[in-house]
């Protein structure tokens, strides 16, 4: 079946088997191997990507369902060589060990912060409860999401202040 899907801002037109799962389309067709398959029962979340802005487990979405939709994967989180605050925080706070769950964890965290920029610890736990990490014990993952959220809030504040300052100077 022919599909047109926007992945990480680029439009792809592909001919896929109707049974192809989105995760295999991303990994095998587009060579975007950040989304990993840890279970295929929607239990582990290693394959989490954003689907029209919403976190989904790409092992439970058919590639054909992505027709006309927008998909965002971990490969597009960093912009122009600048890591996203979540990526920096996961690295600095040691919120990863083997790294296999990390792309999914990052995308689930990204979706969470989009919806709720300043989540409480409880909300972070709720938001990431569909993603399994076998290595870290999760403590640092909570910390990383908190520090990214603070950093993003500060950045927003700074840019608002910048706008305000530049606004004053032109007056």
């Amino acid at each position: 079946m022919k599909i047109r899907v926007k992945v990480n801002g680029h439009l792809f037109e592909s001919d896929v088997e109707p049974r192809t799962l989105l995760v295999y389309y991303l990994r095998d067709e587009l060579k975007l191997t950040g989304a990993h398959v840890g279970c295929d029962t929607t239990s582990c979340g290693a394959c989490t990507v954003l689907f029209d802005g919403k976190a989904v487990k790409s092992c439970t979405v058919l590639a054909v369902q992505a027709n006309g939709r927008e998909v965002l994967t971990v490969e597009a989180l960093d912009q122009e060589g600048q890591m996203h605050p979540l990526q920096t925080a996961f690295w600095e706070d040691h919120a990863l060990q083997c790294g296999y769950c990390t792309p999914g964890m990052l995308m689930a965290s990204y979706a969470l912060l989009q919806k709720n920029p300043m989540p409480t610890e409880e909300e972070i736990r709720e938001g990431l409860s569909g993603n399994i990490c076998r290595c870290t014990g999760y403590m640092n993952i909570v910390k990383a999401v908190q520090s990214a959220s603070r950093k993003m809030a500060n950045e927003t504040q700074e840019s608002l202040e910048e706008v305000a300052t530049s606004g004053t100077s032109t007056e």
Binding site: R27, D28, K31, L32, T33, G34, H36, G38, C39, D40, T41, T42, S43, C44, A46, T73, V74, E75, L77, D78, M83, Q87, T88, F90, W91, E92, H94, L96, Q97, C98, G99, Y100, C101, T102, P103, L106, T120, E121, E122, I124, R125, E126, L128, S129, G130, N131, I132, C133, R134, C135, T136, G137, Y138, M139, N140, I141, V142, K143
Partner: protein, 764 residues
Amino acid sequence: MVNFSYSSNLQGSFERPDGVDKVTANLKFLTDLSFPNMLYGKILRSVYPHAKIISISAKNAEELPGVRAVITSKDVPGLNRFGLIFPDQPVLCEDRVRYVGDAVAAVAAETEEIAEKALQLIEVEYEPLPVIDDPEKALLPSAPQLHPDGNILHQASYQKGNVEEAFQTCDFIVEETYELPRQMHAYMETEGGVIVPEKDGRITVYAGTQHGYKDRFQLARILDIPESKIRVVSSPMGGSFGGKDELNIQPYGALLAIKTGCPVKIHQSRRESVRSGLKRHPMKITMKTGASRSGKILAHQVRIIADTGAYATLGPAVLDFAVEHAAGPYIIRNVHVEGVSVYTNNGVAGEFRGFGGNQVTFALEGQMDRLAAKLGICPMELRKRNLRKADDPGPVGQEIAPTDGAAQVLKAISQSLLLNNKEKREESTSQWKKTGIGVAIAMHGGGLGFGRLDPAGGRISLNEEGKIEISFGFEEFGQGLLSVIEQLAIKEIGCSSNDIKITIGDTDCVPSSGSSTASRGTSMVWHALQRMKGPFKKRLLEKASQCTGVPVDQLYLGPSGIWSCESKTEPLITYQQIAYETKDDPIQIETEFHFPTTPHSIPGGHYLYSFAACAARVEVDVLTGIVRVKNLEQSVAAGPVIYPTGYLGQIEGGSVMALGYTLLEEALMEKGKYVTENFDSYLIPTINDIPLSMNITAIEDLYEGDEYGPRGVGEIGTVAVAPAIVKAIYDAIGLWVTKLPVSREEIVKAVNQREMKEWLTTKL
């Protein structure tokens, strides 16, 4: 709102070198790789836990368009067996299958779907045989024999004094049988990789393992080709925890790649991984422990029966470890331990973080708590009265490196926040929820032990680019080996992280270091650098002196190059310049040595030990039986900390894995078949199951004169958790749990045996 309290003496750290590539997905796992003309491999495994193979017909599969090769036992040119201690597991079964993970055929095809379809077309005629699904049944004289030498894989024992006589003199005796489940490693990346035939006639095996050289050795034996014809690239890996030390998909990928001349990728699904992968040994442990009224333990009798499944792998060593640690850190005059590891038609059990220590420590610490309750003394006090002193021999009477770690961790945990919070009872969030606190301690040997091949080694060189290249045959599966190497190199050599290149995980360019197992990585990297740093620095300084005319004693290694006492802003000569000057005779130092062992000839007996104490606070819902671990603290004595965040990560991650072992995880088998086939039924802790706070303290002091440096902490954080949680459950509701994972039904049943009113009115 919940709060994380986070207090630790392990603050301040460095980011891991592989971190950026992991958060950006620039890092490719070996199962992410693909190659031109790559085929997909699939393995056909037995449908029966025990059966005779009457015939195998691959004709229909071979004729399926897109299928490029089908292999059976006839296609194995060398030894059709593998196994880390002795090879008893068929690569491809000839005439008999002994468990549902046994491979009977494998296929390479142009797509994964075709390979899958081809498996269905392979006709295997079986004659089912009686299934042994219980190790005790396997020991009955009437049981069918699974191997030529019978159903006993290994027996081990330890005896001192006379327990029978000593029990006569005891005032109190506690006897209990503990049952431990089959835990799955559940590494997030299932077994897989790509095997590539190279133009020069060699093959490259891109597949995760904990010991690249051992894989190469085993593969050479199976393929009947020299080891030099095989290159094993084995890092990075998406977790292992002991589970990938043994061969998994490599032989099938290699046989298919050689037969087809094409790269072959095999990546097991989770279901295939559950079916064929290793697990932690289920054990049934009976302990009889007696003490005097004053709290002196006089006799300790232990019987261990381990279900090793269909094949040996590291089963014998796991049992030896359990027997060795059966009396743990306690000095008991009369001890008798007997262990037997038994073949069954269940899943194969092998190496798993903790290596038999988790099972036996659960039982031992359970005995301590039950005995303390019977004696009416504080369980901490009972432990203290019987605890080893620094110069005492090891648990099987062997000479060990003196250590007071046991007393240190017990003292540290007694000062923990959790044990000093007097208001714990009032913290219950509902009248139906009861809280309790438990404490347990553990002693854990590092390295493989006496009589085992346990070589280590490393290499340091100044390479052509002027980088200080440090090479080890260890693997990175998340534990933070790269960070440990980097941090130690900076400290021991004096250079900066930019000056270092680390090479691991490729048999074509690393020295032999032994396996990344048994908490030996950090320890062996440290030992290797101690041996290599002197000669390496000496050669660099001599060369620098020769080039600059400045005497050696005024030079030292620093960031970017060699500095003199005078140089303030930049090195006198850079590493690049020295590399250029030494291009005809590159500076390279290599070392080989053995993991420190006890001089006493006790097979598997250890010399270096680490210790942990764990305190857990739980909340038990008496209506549902749900146990939640609210807080967890661990004190760890394992020598100096090299990489603080990595150390914390090991203990926190290990704690949560052990929490799963205690409350959730069991790879359940019925009549030799897995009932829990995937993560939808095999439950591992999520972020919602973890404690609200975890406080970890590290005791870094080594005993006076101890020159063995930092010990690894990959395992120690997993050992004391289960007994601490189970004691906390007793503290909350008065139920002694003997079987893991803790059953909610058992809790509800125990609760119902008392009047509900009583639960509401008493504070137990």
